[in-house]
Symmetry: C2
DNA sequence: TTGTTATATAAGGTTTGCCTTATATAAGGA
DNA sequence: TCCTTATATAAGGCAAACCTTATATAACAA
């Protein structure tokens, strides 16, 4: 699923740092690699993962391939988190009703 | 890092489904295992991962250990996503300035 | 105590992920 | 054409992540 690859992509600190850098604007592979203690092929691999997750996009400019963050890529993640939050608060809102029902029943509760 | 384990935890569809279920309220291990085609030990492992990521909490009730979602656990993820979004839009807001500067310079641009 | 239910842990195997070095490709410049 | 720079891919190795079956623990019930 899309969520699988996107969340998995964000699980790596190097990839999160790359995204954080790209949030400030486009950058080439070399520019992205510079701050890290890993080799260029490793960064290329990370970029492939990010691209596969729909989190970045790339274009060709001469011999470089600048990357930029894909705003749309984060949307599904945020939607999923929102969904959870909404469900939680919906059930939390209903808590008063539940408590009222429990008082009505007045059964012994050993838990 | 906390973000590592939390995002990694969400990368698995079974674990996301467990969280979605828990958003509706507390559930025991057996209740959580029922909808899935995996064994009980597998679910126990998933729960351990979720607990380690700070996404769920558990209590002891007789022979069962009901799980509930930890609202606080999701906060760091949302904060990270928000941070990215903020940086992006901050730079997007500045785009007008950048374009203006480019017009001022009027240099040939071969990219 | 003995059995039963709920859950955890151990052991073992396969897949996946990340990294490195070495090499390939592709565009640009001399 | 030949060299250089930017990036990608291949190959190989090690650690981490899943899953399964088998077994341990812990509480409750008879």
């Amino acid at each position: 699923m899309q969520l699988d690859t996107a969340f998995a992509a964000l699980a790596d600190p190097t990839r999160r740092a790359i995204l954080a850098r790209l949030a400030k604007g486009e950058a080439t592979v070399m520019e992205l690699a510079k701050p890290f203690a890993v080799t260029q092929p490793a960064i290329s691999r990370h970029l492939k993962v990010l691209e596969g997750a729909g989190l970045i996009e790339r274009r060709i400019a001469g011999t470089t391939r600048p990357c930029r963050l894909s705003a749309a890529g984060l949307a599904p993640l945020e939607a999923w988190l929102d969904q959870i939050r909404r469900t939680m608060s919906a059930n939390y809102d209903r808590l008063d009703d539940v408590l009222a029902a429990m008082n009505d029943e007045r059964k012994g509760d050993r838990t």
